[in-house]
């Protein structure tokens, strides 16, 4: 059974006013357990609105959201359960830090879950170690940390809740390449170690190609496609036509194909490109 399911999910902002906007238009989607889903789509395509439905921050205008087969809007209890089952980390999460120490801030989520003191401590230490937050940092004020460190603390705050589904909205935006790689590695490791389902919203096609198992493409309030990474990039032309980008290497291969070379159309990483070009060489095609 799928861990996350939406059924004809429709959401409208400002219902009953002249400013009514349909942000999601009957979205039906099923996410299997253990996937690492990348959500792409340009600004205003409904990505953020969609992920805010998964933990019940937004209530569907129509349709339903099921986490682990349970309709989250059935009662107050199911809604609260969904909040903890689905960990949502917003864009620029470092601006949500507020406690006096890093430790207390990471503990905020687990504390709200009403866990015993010992368990909280254990979880905070585990999340801190995982995200590379050192012992000295735990005692510091979160406001004395650098940008990248704050980001990791904020992500640790959500991870400490040990959600079954971890959703991150643009976790790498505003970071330098090194910080970006650290965060991406961390997200991948989290999924590998815990077997949780992970979803990331991203603008960077390179990031998506690197870590995702599935890609959800949103366009104009609807799901354009939900497929594996190679399948998604096989339709690179369509992605480009709705104003989305594809990895640079995919663009190069599209051009090669246009010029008549018999190349595969699902190349999206440099490693794959190397293999493909080697193959062409061996087959005696002039590259």
């Amino acid at each position: 059974m799928s861990i996350l399911k939406t059924d004809n999910l429709t959401y409208k902002y400002s219902v009953g006013t002249p400013f009514e906007v349909t942000a999601l238009d009957s979205v039906s989607l099923e996410v299997e357990k253990g996937e690492l889903v990348a959500v792409i789509g340009h600004t205003g395509s409904g990505k953020s609105t969609l992920i805010q439905h998964f933990n019940g921050l937004l209530k569907p205008t129509e349709g339903s959201v099921l986490v682990d087969g349970q309709d989250i809007w059935e009662s107050k209890k199911t809604l609260r359960e969904a909040r903890f089952k689905v960990g949502l980390c917003f864009q620029y999460p470092e601006y949500q830090l507020f406690e006096e120490t890093v430790f207390a801030d990471i503990a905020f989520g687990p504390k709200n879950m009403k866990l015993p003191e010992e368990e909280i401590k254990e979880r905070v230490l585990r999340a801190a170690e995982f995200t590379g937050v050192t012992k000295e940092m735990l005692e510091k004020s979160p406001f004395d940390l650098s940008g990248g460190e704050k980001r990791r603390v904020a992500i640790a705050g959500v991870m400490a809740m040990e959600p079954e589904i971890l959703i991150l909205d643009e976790p790498t935006s505003g970071l330098d390449p090194k910080g970006r790689d650290t965060i991406l590695r961390l997200i991948r490791d989290y999924r590998d170690n815990t077997g949780s389902t992970v979803m990331i919203v991203s603008h960077s096609m390179e990031d998506v190609a690197k870590i995702a198992t599935k890609v959800l493409v949103m366009n104009r309030a609807t799901v354009m496609s939900y497929d594996t990474v190679p399948e998604t990039y096989r339709h690179a032309e369509e992605l480009l036509s709705v104003g989305l980008d594809v990895p640079q290497i995919t663009k190069i291969f599209m051009e090669l194909k246009r010029r008549g070379l018999p190349v595969r159309d699902d190349v999206y990483t440099v490693e794959q490109a190397v293999v493909e070009i080697d193959r062409l060489r061996k087959e005696g095609v002039r590259v």
Binding site: N55, F84, G87, F90, Y95, L97, F108, G109, N112, M113
Partner: protein, 271 residues
């Protein structure tokens, strides 16, 4: 919840009222409000109400939007009306039951007050509906420019007002974002008693304050980078000029004022 507040809401348009000079609109609004309080009888008040309706029609702002501005003060209006009905003891008695005494004078005063307050609110809303916040602060700055010698200066105050107004929507946005982020971490903002709820706001307010300070610094730097150094030697992109429209507006209010004075003198005996 926060989005329902209509104060300072601007309704874009290109009507004669929109095109009037903000300084003239400010002054005329104040004059209008003063005259409302000088009205001594229903005839005079009726004249002012009529001129208000004319101005609203000219502005092109939908009646529904204009009436919405009265909604937030409904409680004040009801309260004033009730007080007046029970405490004014002039005129013929209408009802005399135990401790409740209602007189014609009381009812008249109550109705009079309701109309007065509504007219006042609608008039000032009309100003904010037809004048953008920047225009208003600009207008205020120009009106008070004779007070330049004051420490700090009128310009600084006007700039502060502009910035404050500009950042209200940004802060509301930020507030909602942080609230959602903390809710996602299981913060419970909706249940509990007053103290618990106030405490639950700490995780929202601390980041909000910090963000505001950060924004203030960034804005100050950005302004300095663009060579802002206060009012001295600052020229304007849009120079305000009085036009014929303003003359008409002025005459309109002038006639209304004359009418009110005349009506006040003619019908001295009514209410």
């Amino acid at each position: 919840m926060i989005k329902d507040i209509t104060i300072g809401q601007y309704f874009p348009g290109n009507s004669v009222i929109h095109r009037m000079d903000p300084r003239m609109k400010l002054v005329l609004t104040i004059v209008y409000i003063v005259i409302i309080f000088l009205c001594k009888n229903f005839w005079a008040l009726g004249l002012m109400l009529l001129s208000l309706v004319v101005m609203c029609a000219l502005s092109g702002v939908p009646a529904k939007v204009i009436l919405k501005s009265i909604k937030p003060i409904a409680i004040i209006i009801t309260f004033t009306a009730i007080l007046n009905i029970f405490y004014v003891r002039t005129g013929e008695p209408l009802l005399d039951w135990h401790f409740i005494h209602i007189t014609t004078g009381g009812v008249f005063t109550a109705v009079f007050m309701i109309i007065r307050i509504c007219a006042l609110v609608v008039a000032s809303s009309l100003l904010t509906y037809t004048t953008s916040p920047t225009q208003i602060t600009d207008g205020i700055e120009r009106l008070f420019s004779p007070l330049k010698f004051m420490r700090g200066g009128v310009h600084t105050l006007a700039m502060m007002m502009t910035i404050a107004l500009r950042f209200i929507p940004t802060l509301i946005d930020e507030f909602e974002k942080i609230t959602n982020a903390q809710k996602a971490r299981g913060a419970d903002l909706e249940t509990g008693n007053l103290v618990e709820r106030a405490k639950a706001l700490i995780p929202v307010l601390v980041p909000l304050f910090i963000t505001s300070f950060r924004r203030a610094y960034e804005l100050a730097f950005a302004m300095e980078c663009r060579c802002y150094h206060g009012a001295e030697g600052r020229t304007r992109m849009k120079i305000m000029k009085y036009s014929k429209l303003d003359a008409f507006g002025f005459l309109f209010i002038l006639f209304a004022t004359g009418g009110v004075i005349a009506l006040n003198m003619f019908f001295r005996h009514v209410v």
